[in-house]
Symmetry: C2
């Protein structure tokens, strides 16, 4: 059976590098996937010029949709949403809303993408807040963690909804029935979590999900559960702290291997091993966070993504469409709603 046809709208202007990254990444995906169509959204002249550099012409599977404005990476999300109705980001989301694309991918301003997507696409029934979900590497494979920064103040109900959506995402993408869900908490008995987390644990326990219970920060990379649920403040700090620590470790390793002639030779000898290690934890392979809970598939790429990294975001959008993530979440929410009633 051939793969399902999928059309992805790409915010070609988003991210630190714009069309010089987004366009070649799209071309690579098109070359690999004959059932994929792409709409490159943004300033036509710049996109066309990038296509010429790759000696590629538009056609049935590759179109350009002109959008005259670009949302800056540091722009206020509220202002961007209100004032830039013809931004590449907005038009890409509009294409999803209009049914002309099955998903959209952007490396642009996260806050603006979230606000605009929520405004244009609306929330799914039963979901009050969107969540940012992403895969992270672990000792055992990978986990899905959410929310990574969309919501700073969450109610127990929000955390329950994150748990449901995260579990559906893992089931859909990895074919795992009843993935385990952990609630991020802290360890001290006396002070086991704040009230919100305690109540969320009760809701998750009664939800019919495969709820593992409370987990601690070190369980994330241990891969104790398939899904990690937390509020956006905690999730964002955990993610950024991890990025900082990984950067420090790699910088220090490089420094140690550059100290002397001897250590440089040792570094050369160890290089293939160090590279194999780097491939295993390469964050580029995990690029692409899902904005969950919207009536449409929206993937946020890291702003600094390179071509390889952005390709992974497009792939993620395609996989979510083909695996019916939206449909599955909405079915699950109906069931959850009926159970509660």
């Amino acid at each position: 059976m051939p793969d399902q046809k999928v059309t992805v709208a790409i915010d070609a202007m988003g991210g630190d590098h714009g069309p010089s990254v987004t366009v070649p990444a799209a071309l690579r995906c098109l070359a690999r996937d004959p059932e994929l169509a792409v709409v490159l959204v943004g300033i036509e002249e710049q996109i066309a010029s990038e296509l010429r550099r790759h000696r590629t012409a538009v056609g049935d599977r590759l179109r350009i949709r002109h959008a005259s404005e670009v949302v800056g990476m540091d722009e206020s999300p509220a202002l961007a949403m209100r004032n830039k109705k013809d931004s590449s980001m907005r038009v890409a989301i509009d294409l999803v809303k209009a049914g002309e694309a099955n998903a959209c991918v952007s490396a642009g301003n996260t806050g603006a993408l979230m606000a605009t997507a929520r405004f244009v696409l609306k929330m799914m029934p039963g979901i009050e807040r969107p969540a940012i979900a992403s895969a992270l590497p672990t000792m055992r494979g990978r986990i899905i963690m959410l929310d990574l920064g969309a919501n700073v103040d969450c109610t127990p109900e929000h955390l329950l909804q994150f748990g449901i959506m995260g579990a559906v995402l893992v089931s859909a993408l990895e074919g795992r029935e009843q993935p385990s869900v952990g609630l991020l908490n802290i360890g001290e008995e006396e002070i086991k979590g704040n009230e919100t987390v305690k109540q969320a644990a009760d809701l998750l326990r009664a939800s019919g999900l495969n709820f593992y219970g409370n987990i601690e920060g070190d369980d994330i990379y241990r891969g104790t559960t398939d899904v990690v649920v937390c509020d956006g403040f905690v999730g964002n700090v955990a993610l950024k702290t991890s990025e900082g620590l990984a950067k420090m470790i790699s910088t220090m390793l490089r420094e140690e291997f550059s100290r002397s002639v001897f250590t440089r030779i040792a570094g050369l000898v160890a290089l293939p091993v160090l590279n194999a290690f780097k491939r295993r934890v390469d964050p580029r392979r995990y690029n692409g966070a899902t904005l969950l809970g919207l009536r449409g598939v929206v993937i946020k790429s890291h702003g600094g993504a390179d071509r390889f990294s952005f390709e992974h975001s497009i792939d993620k959008a395609i996989r979510e469409v083909r695996n019916g993530v939206l449909q599955r979440i909405s079915e699950k929410m109906v069931v959850a709603h009926e159970d509660a009633a």
Copy 2:
């Protein structure tokens, strides 16, 4: 000028290894520091037997104080505090209260240590909540981060007090005037932190501290500021997540170097470099969290600490006493109080 005489009460039974770690660590510190005296608190028979193994007798600088009970690592802090009045932990804290010791060190149950220390020693005037503070390695040196798990729900005032105490700790221990203080937050403009963090930023800005402003998770290991302030939930998750990631990275590196004969040889060649790297980030060198805000110096060692690691906790206690951390915090709180009035 000789170093100031310091007496440290050691909860000899605390931690995963009890006297087999705490006693030899104490003996090493005594050998290095002629102005140090130690009281080993716990089950006399077990401590004496450990001393015999090291062919050491008690004397002026080394005493045993019998305590008949031990607080379990998983015991409820409230119950431990209420029911175990003759635990090694409690008696060590009592010695500080009675002025027979200048500080106490325990590798025992964190919650019980916190609850008992707070009950016995009481809070300093002007400080409403104790905080767990610890040093972490960064690209530039080290930072002090607090709170790492004592408080899950903090008010803006608590975060301000953490900022003041953290800055005093850095000044006292590292002789740095006006250390910079960062408030841990998340990056999205739209949702820049919750209300508590926003109000804490206002208080810190008006406090006379060298307030850097908001920082993000990756700033911790970048060493952007000298002090990182956050609530105990976020701090604990960030710390444990870091521990988990560091563990995953070192496990994967070891796996990659063990794959084949070739990679094993590469590992041998690279070993001195990898060891130099490991020494640089060795968490044992950072062992010993300070319970700040109490009327007494209390240091919490990691429960799994080995001899080397526990020694660092004792050293930390000694340095805090000799650098007058308590006195400095209480002076600073008086000033802060007068400024506010």
